[in-house]
Symmetry: C2
Amino acid sequence: MTVYNFSAGPAVLPTKVLEQAQSSLVDYQGSGMSILELSHRSSLFLAIIDECEQLLRELMKIPENYRVLFMQGGASLQFSMLPLNVARGKKALYVNTGAWAKKAIAAAKKVPNVTVEVVASSEDDSFTSVPTIAELDPEAAYVHITTNETIGGVSYHQIPDTGNVPLVADMSSNFLSNDYQVEDFAMIYAGAQKNLGPAGLTVVIIREDFLNTEEVFAPMLDYRVQADNQSMYNTPPTFAIYVAKLVLEWVKEVGGVAEVVKRNEEKAALLYDAIDQSQLFSSPVAKEARSLTNIPFVTGQAELDKLFIQQATAAGFENIKGHRSVGGMRASIYNAFPLEGVNALVAFMQAFEQEQGEN
Amino acid sequence: MTVYNFSAGPAVLPTKVLEQAQSSLVDYQGSGMSILELSHRSSLFLAIIDECEQLLRELMKIPENYRVLFMQGGASLQFSMLPLNVARGKKALYVNTGAWAKKAIAAAKKVPNVTVEVVASSEDDSFTSVPTIAELDPEAAYVHITTNETIGGVSYHQIPDTGNVPLVADMSSNFLSNDYQVEDFAMIYAGAQKNLGPAGLTVVIIREDFLNTEEVFAPMLDYRVQADNQSMYNTPPTFAIYVAKLVLEWVKEVGGVAEVVKRNEEKAALLYDAIDQSQLFSSPVAKEARSLTNIPFVTGQAELDKLFIQQATAAGFENIKGHRSVGGMRASIYNAFPLEGVNALVAFMQAFEQEQGEN
C-alpha cells in the first residue's frame, strides 16, 4: 500500500534526502564516522553548517545584513525569546490570526516588563481570514505576525506594510513556501519540522540592527550571543542541520523556492477545487486567505468526519485528522509532499462522497 | 584505515545502533514513513518515547517519584533553567570543579533574584581533584555538582552527602557510566551527545517534590510545564529520542549499566596504566579523581603534543586533541568506544615514545 503522510510536522521529506541521510548514518563520506558521531568542531561538520547557511541565503535571497541562527526549542521557545530579547521596557504588537498567534501572544504577555497589544484579530470571524492592521504605535519594538496558521490553514499572501515598526514573523509552516521578501522583515523564525528538516532545529533570520543590545540573563536565549558564536555557543543539533542542508540542496535542484511555490500552488489548487466542487466537503477558510501548505476541510458532521478519517487512514492517507482543537480533516501538503498524493486524496474524497450519496 | 573517534561529543555510538537507525531512515518498521517523518502525536512515536523512558527508568533504577523529561538546549540551557525554576529568592550553592562547573556558576549568577555561593573549589590545584564540601546552608535551594568534567577529566567516584540540601548534578559526560544512585539526587541532567545519543536532546531526571512551584515566565523553560505535558509541550526532537532508545536497548543487551561501567573501568585502566608507566606522557589529574570517560594527557611540551596529535590523526585517531582551553591531548572513551581503540592508542603512544627516545 502506498502511504501518503499528511502530518503537520514532523512531516514528509524528499525521498532523495532520506536516502542521502541514510547513506551517512554509518559512514559519513568515507570518514569512518557516522554523521551522528561528528564533532561539531570538526572540519567535516563546519563545512555542513556553512553550506547549510549559504544555501539558505541563496535560496531565500537573504541580504548580507541579516544573520542566520540555528537554534533549538521550536517556535514555542521563540515566542518567549523574542520579547525577552527586544521588547523589555517597550510595547510589542501582535496580530491574532489563530491558534499559533494566540500562543505567541500568551507567551509574550508573561515576559516581565513587556507591554503586549493585539493590533488586529480575526477572532470575530473564527480565524477564517487575515485581519487588516490599522495604525501602529511607531515606538513599538515590533509587530508580530504568523504568516501561516498551521491549524487554521490561514495564510498571508501579501505581507502588510508596517512602516517603521519592525515586522517579525513566525514562518514555521510556510518557510521556503512563499514569495515574501526577507528585507520586509526584521526577523523571521521557523521550526524546521515542516519544510526544512527533522524536529529539533529552529532557524532564526535576524537583521543585525534588530539584534538585542541589552544582555539576556541566559546566554542560550540571547540572540546576540548566538550570533556572536555562529550558533555554536554550545553543541548544535548537528544531524538536523545536516538534513536541513540536504533539503536545501533538493530545493535548489528542483528549481529554487519559486518553482517549489509553483508546485505547491498546483497541489493546493487541486485540493481546493475538489473541496469547492464537492457537495459534501467544504473549506472553512476565506478564499483570499487560504494556506498552500495546511488545508483543513470538513463535512459539517462530526460522525461523517470520523468515518472519513477512519477509511482514509485505512487506505494509507496518514495523519489526515484535523488538529484536536478544531476537529475535521487537515491535509498538510508541504514542499516535499508529492502531487500524486493530492490526486489520490481527491479521488478518495470523490469516491467517499459518491458512496455517501448512495447510502 | 580503521578510524577511532575520541570526540568528547557528539561522540561514538554503538555500530548496532547506527545500523538500526539507518534502517529506519527511509521506512520505519514498514510504516511507509521515515523515522524523521513520524508525527510526534502518532502512536508509532508515542511508543518510542514511552519505551525510551521505561528503559532509562529500568537501567538507572529511577524511583517512581522522579519524572523523566526529554528537552532541548543542552546542559548550557539547564545552567540557566535550574536556578530560574527553583532558586529564585533563594541561595544556590555550587561546587567548582572546572570549566563546566564554572559555566554553570556564571549562568546562575545572571539569573535575577538568585544568590550564588561557591561552597567548594579545586581551582587552587588547577582543577586536578574533587574538592571536599564543608558545611552547607540548610536553607539553600540546592547544591550543584558536575559529576564529570569533560574538559578537565575530573570525576566524582563518591557522591557527597549534602544532608537536607537537595543535590543537583550535571551528569552530561558520565551519564550511564557510573554507579551513582538516582535517589541521592534531587535532579540530574545530561546532554545526550556523549553516552546517550545524538546532539539536540537533553535528559532531565527530577524528583517530583523538587519541581518548581512558581511558574516560570517561559513555558518551554518551566520544568513543571514540561512534566505536565510529558515532554510534549511542543514538538520534541523525535529522531534524537529514537536513537537514545536504541542506545538504551544496547546498554540493556550488553548487560546493563554495571557491565558498561566495568568495561569502561577496563578501558580507562589500560590507558591510565600506559600513561603512568610512560616517561613521556603524564596525566594532570589526581588518581582518586580520574574520569573513566574523558582522559587528558600531555607530554609537557606543546610542540611535542602538536606532533603527536598530527601523527595520531593521520593514523586514524580522530579528535584526540585536547580542548582548546587546556591544550594537550584528550581521549574521550565513552560507553560505545571499543576496547580495541584503546589498545590501538596505547600501542601508538608507545611507538611514538620510543621513536622520540631514539631521536
